[in-house]
Structure formats: C-alpha cells, structure tokens
Symmetry: C2
C-alpha cells in the first residue's frame, strides 16, 4: 500500500485507528477456548466488528509466538483474513545483522504477507536496509517508544540531540517516506511538535493511548501533518472491552468512540 492510498482510506473512513491484535487467551471470552484455534476465532470476530472503523490492524507477534508453531498459524490465518484494503503491521520489533534481517523481512513480507513490520534501530543501517528492499512494503522504525523504559537510552543527548532524534535524522536517509514510518508513543505528547520538525512528511505509528495513558486529542493536535500522517493504535481498550457474550458490541463501541474523535480532528484539518 502506498502512502497516498493509506491517506485515501483515512479520509474515506474518517479514521486513523489501528487496532492492535494482542490477543491473550486469558483475557478473551472463555467460550472461545472450546474452538480449535481460539486466537484466530476471536480475531475474526474482532475484525468483523471493527473493520469499517479502522484503517490498520497490528498483531503483536509475541502474543502468537508464545504458542509456538500453533500460534504462528493463528497469526498467518489472521493476516490472511484481514481485508486487502486495510494496512497490516507485524509488530515484531526485529533487527539483526544484514543476512539475518533479510530472513526476517522474508518471514514477515513474503511468508506472512504483512504490509509492514516494526524494526528496532539499535543495530543501525545494515540491520534495517534489508527490510527496505520490498516493493510496496514498509519499515516502521522505533523512535520514541511509549513505555517508561524509553527514558533509559532514547533520551541520552549527543551534540544537542537526543538518541531518538539521531535515529530520526539518520534513518530518514535510508529510505523514502513512502517506505518508512516511525513509532512515537502517545505518552510523550510534548515531543510531537519537535518530532514533526525532523520528519514532517512521515507517517507515525502511535501506541500508548488507553491502558498506557496517552491522550488522543493531543496526539492529533501536535502530530497530524497534511496527509494525516498518524496511525493511532489501541489494543487492550478495544479487545478486552468486555469478556461477556456482548464483547463484539463492546469492542465496536470502544473503536467507534475513538473513530468519532478522529473524525472530528480530520474534519477540522481537511474540510
């Protein structure tokens, strides 16, 4: 999917919502446990009840890998089930030396067929480059993450710039804004203005609203660019809105609430 196509989807759906499929067997309605593949069955129902409200799905691979080969199958089936016009993000946070990163790229882009994969920047250019060699596929590089530990190393300062700012400045030379996005946590709203100076045109994938405490309206205000440039993720707030039989209504309602706020921001900016 190109940036232009993604922006069109955002305008059509009045939404820049990404639904995080961090599916946890201990948190989904218990009747799913009677299915052969409870994770996929649950994901299917979540996708069915939210697909008109979001423009992206983001399965976090950890939640599938912890069930070994069977989990990997659930992930494959989930990605296959997501409609083609919805952007898919394999949230894998990979990154290794060149010949290994090539393998990961193959795993996520060719084997699983995801549109994008999240990549960790620590190992530098040659760990990221192999992901950039796939037509129409995206790297979403960690820049400023949403967790408390982001303060340990991402804020270290070198020549008046923090490490995450160096990551932005250096990596944006590795590929175009039609193949690179950045992870910027909603828990750092005060940093969006300055981040937009480094990467005015790139899409940002923004985790951290909901359970982690980030604020959607601040993210929209400070982070939006002239092609929206935001994919805001919610996982737990949507997936686990209810553990009862009404879970689909509850999940849809949680997604709708976010979508409606997003529609307001989009209308303000683009009408």
């Amino acid at each position: 999917m190109t940036k232009e196509e993604l922006f069109k989807q955002i305008l059509a759906k009045e939404s820049f919502l990404c639904v995080g499929l961090d599916t946890d067997l201990e948190k989904i309605p218990s009747f799913f446990l009677d299915y052969d593949d409870p994770i996929f069955e649950f994901n299917k129902r979540i996708i069915d009840c939210t697909k008109d409200l979001c423009v992206a799905y983001k399965p976090n691979t950890a939640f599938y890998e912890c069930y070994g080969a069977k989990g990997w199958e659930s992930l494959q089936k989930t990605l296959d089930y997501i409609p083609d016009d919805i952007f898919t993000i394999a949230d894998a946070k990979r990154g290794d030396i060149g010949n290994t990163s090539s393998r990961y790229a193959k795993a996520f882009f060719e084997q699983l067929g995801a549109d994008s994969v999240t990549v960790a920047p620590y190992m530098g250019s040659d760990s990221v480059q192999p992901f950039l060699g796939f037509d129409g596929k995206w790297v979403i590089l960690l820049a400023l993450t949403s967790n408390q530990g982001s303060k340990d190393f991402q804020f270290l300062e070198h020549k008046d710039q923090k490490v995450y700012q160096h990551v932005l400045e250096t990596s944006k030379q590795w590929g175009s804004d039609d193949q690179l996005m950045y992870v910027v946590g909603a828990t750092h709203p005060e940093n969006f203005v300055e981040i937009r100076k480094h990467v005015p045109d790139h899409f940002l994938l923004v985790p951290g609203i909901g359970a982690q405490g980030g604020d959607l309206s601040k993210v929209s205000e400070f982070g939006m660019n002239n092609q929206c440039g935001l994919l805001v993720n919610s996982s737990r707030g949507i997936l686990y809105a209810s553990r009862e039989k009404d879970f689909e209504e509850a999940s849809r309602s949680a997604a709708l609430k976010l979508q409606q706020k997003m529609a307001v921001s989009l209308t303000k900016k683009f009408h």
Copy 2:
C-alpha cells in the same frame, strides 16, 4: 544453567565455542531437501558432529521464522535435541513493552525451553525486566554489535560515555551476572579492555569471527576474565564448511580448529 556450571563445562571441554545454527536451506547439502524437515535433519547432524567441541548452540530465530509454523517446529525440535549440558541461546533480539516482553519470555523460556534469549536494549528497563524473572534463565543484552551499522547509534557519546557503555552501566543494575550476559562483536577487539572495566564479571557472547572478520586470539586476549567469561560464536564457518557428502567432517574440522585455539588460551589462563 548457572555461571559456575557453564565455566565447568568450558574447562571440561577446553572450549568456549558457541555454534550458531543459522540454517539456510539454500546452503546446506542438497540431499537434505528430500527430508520432511530438512532444517532439523541438518541441525541434528551438525549437533552430533560438534557437541563434544562446543559449550553452546545458538539458533537464530529468523532462519526458522521465515518458514512460518513449520520453521517454528524445526526450531522446537532442534532445541529439544540439544543435550541438556549444553547451553542454548535463542538469538531473537526481542524487546517490547512489559506485558509483551513477558509473552516473549514465555515463548522462549517455557515454550521452546531455551536457556537464554538475546534482547535489544533500545526500549530500556521495563522491556528487559520480564525476561529476568525466570529461574536459571539468562538475558543476553545487545551492547556493541558486530555489524557495520553498530557505528550509527551505539557510538553516540553522552557525558563522555558512548551509548553502548551507558547500556552496560545502566543494565548491569537490572540483574546479576548470573542472569545477564552481553553481546559484544569480535569486530571491535580494541573495545574489549574498556568493556571489561564496565562488566568485569559478566559473560560476553561474541559473534563476528569468521565471515565477519573478527579475530579469535584478540578476543581471547582482551576479553577473557577469571571464569573465562566468553562464548565465541561461529555460524557460517562451521555450518557451511562443505556442501558435499563430507559436510560432517568439514564442519567438525572447522569447529575443532576453533576449539584447539580456545584450548591454548584456556590453558594459558587457567593452568
């Protein structure tokens, strides 16, 4: 496995060799492709012909993931096949927010039964902590990696210390040297002396000899501590020593060459 037990194995085998199981279908002898699970069959033969010469095996998960669920099964079978007294490293370079890292830890320690997993430090303390809650299991944190791209961010300097030095100093407070090791590439031999000042007692996992050009004798000279403190990895140099029927002899001979050099260094230090 405890640090003490690992050191005992090193002395008994006169080896601190780790064999990297980066098994690539395009590089193994072609007759393996007739098997149902060529990757596992090849690994089995490699393990059989090197297990008395090494103290650790390190499958890189990328080489398994790229075959989806089937690859994950090959990885599981490989880890199950490795003798219990040999240290296993799931080279996965994971790292995510707390509740996700917990999933990864479960995947590698409980599902796959590995002794250790490599973790990327970029996201900081709460991304690493969940891996440290498993008795007898190890985190091997990326510090100074062997690739060219290590120069992009790991050498940025903050208050007279480079980012990788901050990673060492900060992270060594997160756990003991009986649960934390560090990745330090053999391609930076000049840095081992100073790294030993930061982490005198920790084991270092050292990739980068062989194909990447690192020098085993320099690593031994500058990196060894009073419990050896080194696991030096070779992957391609051992696995792909020959693509012919004699591959086992060739692989064994490549491993033996390294082991013999290691025996000399160990004798010098400990006799």
